[in-house]
């Protein structure tokens, strides 16, 4: 039998000098970025595949139109417009809704044992993982915008007809997909980090909102609630503004984003709400079942 070290063999100072250090936070963040990237690799490939397919369809469509227009110069058909508009960011909002569920798959707050057993403080570890997901979301958003711009460029080359931006388009609108995706991702992440059944919570909040609206309308106090709802959803700094919803301007007869300061303010407010919720749920000590 192999000898086993006994208690009396180890002195106090010796033990303390042998203690291991916790890892550097940069190492953890980088590893989480790697791990989440690996996890999202397949979904990312699917998204890229869809993008390639759409590109092929768009190019084929423009090519066919060009062939037709060259053959029938008296019956010219209009080319589709691929110029970037801020509403295109809705694609990234949709992806941002789904991404937190992927990042935390199989790890609801009562089954996060592996995550909790690591030598990192729980809140910091949860935030590192959320950050890793956000990093990849921003990368994907960048790729998406490059793809949109590239598609517009390629179709212009094929058609020979430039596609000028709308006169109401402002340069900062290129940033809207990044902020709208961030706001969505942070808010949904707070639910997935904190709740065992995030969909129930999200659905519950919506149901409560609708229930309150119904109840107040029965009580004849619908106006106040509607005013509040409008402010939260569609107000100057409402969530719709943060998510890049366009407003139809009667004067110019064009749909456009609100002013830059409104968009920035709404994004900052809703992002702060999401981060505060995320911090609160990350710091809460949930225990395994």
């Amino acid at each position: 039998m192999t000898a086993v070290p006994v208690a009396s063999d180890a002195g106090s100072r010796k033990t303390v000098s042998r203690l291991h250090a916790a890892p550097a936070w940069t190492t953890i963040v980088l590893e989480q970025i790697r791990a989440v990237g690996l996890l999202a690799r397949l979904a990312g490939l699917v998204v890229v595949g869809v993008g390639v397919m759409l590109s092929a369809v768009a190019v084929w469509n423009v090519w066919t139109l060009r062939t037709f227009n060259e053959a029938h110069p008296k019956h010219l058909l209009t080319y589709p417009d691929f110029t970037f508009i801020a509403e295109a960011g809705i694609v990234m909002v949709g992806i941002a809704c789904l991404l937190p569920f992927m990042v935390w798959q199989d790890e609801d707050p009562t089954r996060r044992l592996y995550h909790w057993a690591m030598p990192v403080s729980r809140p910091a570890h949860a935030l590192a993982k959320v950050f890793a997901g956000w990093f990849w979301l921003m990368c994907l958003t960048l790729v998406y915008l490059v793809w949109v711009a590239g598609l517009a460029g390629v179709t212009t080359l094929i058609s020979g007809q430039p596609q000028p931006q709308s006169p109401t388009f402002r340069l900062w609108e290129w940033c809207v997909p990044f902020t709208s995706a961030t706001v969505t991702y942070v808010l949904i992440s707070a639910a997935t980090v904190g709740a065992r059944r995030p969909l129930v919570w999200i659905g519950g909040v919506i149901t409560m909102f609708m229930g309150a609206s119904l109840l107040l309308s029965k009580l004849g106090k619908k106006d106040a609630f509607e005013h509040f709802t409008r402010a939260v959803l569609n107000g100057t700094y409402g969530i719709a503004t943060a998510l890049g919803r366009v407003h139809f301007d009667d004067a110019t007869q064009r749909a456009s984003l609100p002013r830059a300061d409104f968009w920035l303010g709404a994004s900052a407010i809703w992002c702060a709400i999401g981060v505060a919720a995320l911090l609160a749920v990350s710091c809460r000590h949930t225990e395994p079942l």
Partner: protein, 323 residues
């Protein structure tokens, strides 16, 4: 109601006839009056675990006794309702990250998530969290445990998953190993191999081990301290050598109508009495027990030490009289 208030209303505990504290020495793990309530149900009651540095401490108890809860408190996975836990003199709650950096942990339950990850990548992922990770040793462990590195975690059987966790727990050579049912789900051959790897590890690396298992006979030669938890209470804690000296099986011939049946009270853990013979497992000084038996009219034939397995059974099921 606060935890303190709940503790104060708890029924007074009957003092254990066995030692529940160690005498001096440096401790790797020390809990003081550790208490945990799940709702109104007390899972732990004033547990004072003392694991000496360099020891192999066997924590035994029936299912639901509070062993895993104690272990989870040490790693700050579960927060106590009262009392405190220290690992290498660090409060396990305040210095949770550093404590976990010094612990190799094999959990009882293996539903850890990360089922999508391949075993090889999981080991790599794990290594980034432990600066002292020994790559060559990890490879050696992967071979010893016959890990299939290309398999996804969710496709592994319970035993295979257990071996992955054992490799992860050992490969950074932690000063403290906390093994919660480490051989559960392993086949007998792999169980034997696992114990061999553990023995080799302890020979090479100065490590303290806190081991919770139902397979006591497997660790009989390895363990040097024992703690017994029953119904959330630590009812015995001592070096195993003391247990071997103090807990003996006495066989004695007794005359007809022998009046010594009530001798020694709670110190008798097992009574097997026939008409003219008794076979009792009694805790106490051998000379004193033998003397009192002789004074009662019994003729002591022998007093023999019992195996750790039998001793554990006796400690876990006291006062069992078999006539």
């Amino acid at each position: 109601m606060t935890a303190a208030a709940r503790i104060s209303t708890a029924p007074l505990m009957v003092p254990s006839p066995f030692p529940t504290a160690l005498n001096g020495g440096e401790l790797a793990v020390c809990t003081t009056a550790l208490t945990k309530y799940y709702g109104w149900h007390p899972a732990l009651k004033n547990v004072g675990l003392q694991v000496p540095v360099g020891s192999v401490y066997l924590l035994v108890g029936p299912n639901g006794a509070g062993k895993s809860t104690t272990i989870k408190i040490l790693l700050d996975m579960v927060r106590p309702s009262g009392g405190a836990a220290h690992v290498f003199d660090m409060n396990s709650q305040r210095h949770a990250a550093v404590v976990r950096a010094n612990v190799g942990y094999v959990p009882e339950q293996l539903n850890w998530g990360y089922g999508w990850m391949k075993v090889g990548r999981l080991l790599e992922h794990h290594s980034r969290y432990f600066p002292n990770w020994d790559d060559s040793y990890a490879k050696h462990l992967a071979d010893a445990f016959e890990l299939r590195l290309d398999r996804k975690l969710k496709t592994l059987s319970k035993g295979q998953g257990r071996r992955v966790h054992l490799a992860m727990a050992l490969a950074h050579r932690p000063p403290l190993l906390v093994l919660d049912e480490p051989t559960d789900g392993l086949d007998p051959v792999m169980r034997d191999d696992t114990m061999r790897v553990l023995i080799d590890h302890l020979a090479e690396t100065p490590t303290t081990v806190l081991l919770s298992t139902h397979h006591v006979s497997e660790v009989e030669t390895l363990a040097d301290h024992i703690g017994v938890i029953r119904n959330g209470e630590l009812c015995a804690q001592m070096p195993i050598e003391r247990l071997r000296r103090g807990l003996l099986r006495y066989r004695a011939d007794v005359p007809d109508g022998w009046q010594g049946a009530s001798l020694f009270g709670d110190a008798v853990l097992r009574r097997n009495t026939t008409r003219n013979e008794i076979e009792w497992t009694v805790w106490g000084e051998e000379a004193q027990i033998a003397g009192e038996l002789a004074m009662s009219g019994a003729t002591v034939r022998d007093a023999t030490p019992i195996s750790l397995h039998d001793a554990t059974l006796a400690l876990l099921t006291p006062k069992r009289a078999v006539r």
